[in-house]
Symmetry: C2
């Protein structure tokens, strides 16, 4: 098969980590007889510098005409003093909106080889940890009506519509079917009307997935459970605000943010894939950035947008094998390991494919 | 001095833990020449059984006429099938409202002797952990307008007024002045208008407390920082919803929920004090419940409502000493320690006063 991939290298370490990742993808193409056509497009700071906008229309058009988008990282101090809508972050929000990316998938994975950097005790995390937060990304209180009454009061509205909840719930159950068939819905239905509404729709969608086990947690309890018993989770589905909090907490308990990918999906199979870490301009261009989060983002792209499950599994296995062989970039290096740069880490992973 | 204390033993283990705690308070009275007059009043399940309401008016009146309220725990499965407004929890919400308790103080304390039950690695928590979440308790989205448009949409409004933010911010800074003089304001000001409003008022209040260091965290980042670097915090001040999530997360990282007290304060010095754990009806009446959370709630009462700092310090020191002597109730027992019941734990702490 032939796949069209829009590639947004972005700023800082973006070009290096994306470069290492597309090489992994090329090797997958070779092994499985796929061809991946990359179209490089601009967004973020580099787009501001060359086109005077963080998100050129051409970028949106090319992304829309692709099967999936791979993004490195956007932003850096160079552009931090620009007004809000001219900043690189506006490019990211703009692209999510333009592409209708309403489902944010945030896996929290702990690798046995990196257990030392996990803040939780070994008896809590066991050998591995692998959960997925499915966060609603384009609704809820972050996009609700807001208002202010002079100096007297201010408010934001947490609102969800039926179609918004239906599609994110469906996405979560579909993902659970590809994993361990367990969905934990997180809300605050004991207090919030919008949560009771949300939960009623999740229960409705659950009927179409009789093989998936469903349970419910209040958000305050979920924040506790992530710390004392994270292994109970497979897929967590939740709203924009709660998902923002819980996905960040979940990534932190793994202790290895430099290793974590993300996906933002729209209807159908289209999606954008990116590491959750930033553009790290201080180490850009030195061949020391860790490309693993981006390489695993590529595995997510194969799994969720291209339906190439075997290929995705192979990349993830190769990453684990490379770690077990002792190869480490500087950010995850510990004594006795073999320190490698961005390019060599990519090559070692390719050798293990 | 003579102090009037309204005592609500409540349900389950409530009467036992409150009984152990008032004995500690009596001993403090003896040592320091104070007299504490207790008036026992009903709330929760026991009030439902005897007065057919979870919160008799007499209880409110007596609480209002007191210097402070000490509460054990309310509720149990016996009353779980009653309608919402007839349940024991309604008594708790009702009393908070009737007494104007807008500031919820939730200390998260890790005792060196109980480090083994902390879910975080020792290098993260060090020898001790002692932070305080100051949560706004009677405003925000839990009390905002709510609405529903048939099956199409539902919403809740997160609103704060200027007086609401002023008083909770002031409370937080006052508390920080009695602690390590550091306040971390937690909001989501990069996205929410109500958070920008909240933050502007916190900044205004900060001017009156030039000795207190102030910083700001977004709520998603705060959820992460609690896991990887909890020692950075002294006082966290935040809204009702964010405080619900973060205070529960903070208590969980201590690994000893049976040890944690809480205070709910109104204007002036009046407050209600209670352990954060529940009524544990399964172990009620067996002299095995842990009274420490309630005894430390009494210390908070001395500190915040009665201005008896030395007396409060003494109770806290006695609890630590008792733990260091190896005395443990069943819930915190580990091998090699001396297992004691509710009454004996209280007595050992009294001996150490
Ligand atoms: Mg976040
Ligand atoms: Mg809670």
């Amino acid at each position: 098969m032939n796949y069209k991939i829009a590639v947004i290298p972005g700023d800082g370490i973006g070009p290096e980590i994306v470069g290492a990742s597309t090489k992994v993808l090329d090797k997958i193409g070779e092994k499985f007889n796929h061809s991946f056509d990359y179209t490089k497009v601009l967004a973020g700071g580099v787009a501001i510098d060359t086109c005077d906008t963080p998100l050129p229309q051409e970028t949106i058009d090319i992304c829309k005409a692709s099967d999936a988008v791979l993004l490195g990282a956007l932003g850096g101090p160079k552009w931090d003093n620009l007004p809000g809508d001219k900043r690189p972050e506006a490019g990211l929000l703009g692209i999510r909106k333009a592409l209708g990316l309403y489902a944010n998938l945030r896996p929290a994975i702990l690798y046995e080889e990196l257990k030392a950097s996990c803040p939780l005790k070994p008896e809590i995390v066991g050998d591995e940890l692998d959960l997925m937060v499915v966060r609603e990304l384009t609704g809820g209180i972050y996009f609700g009506e807001k208002g202010q009454d002079g100096d007297n009061a201010a408010w934001d509205v947490m609102k969800y519509t039926r179609p918004e909840v239906l599609r994110i719930a469906r996405k979560a159950f579909e993902i659970a079917m590809k994993r361990n068939k367990k969905v934990t819905n997180v809300d605050k239905a004991n207090v919030l009307g919008v949560s009771r509404f949300w939960r009623s729709i999740v229960l409705e969608v659950a009927k179409d997935f009789p093989k998936v086990e469903l349970n419910h947690l209040y958000v305050d309890n979920a924040a506790m459970q992530l710390v004392i018993n994270p292994k109970q989770f497979d897929v967590i589905v939740t709203s924009n605000l709660f998902g923002d909090i819980l996905s960040d907490e979940a990534s932190m308990i793994t202790g290895s943010i430099g290793m974590l990918p993300s996906a933002s999906l729209s209807d159908g199979k289209f999606g954008m894939y990116e590491p959750i870490h930033g553009s790290a301009p201080d180490i850009a261009g030195q061949d020391i950035a860790n490309p693993i989060a981006t390489i695993i983002s590529v595995a997510m792209m194969l799994r969720f947008s291209l339906d190439l499950t075997e290929e995705a599994d192979l990349i993830e296995a190769a990453v684990k094998k490379t770690l077990s062989q002792g190869y480490r970039t500087a950010d995850i290096y510990s004594e006795g390991m073999k320190k490698v740069g961005t390019v060599e880490m990519g090559q070692r992973i390719i050798e293990n494919l």
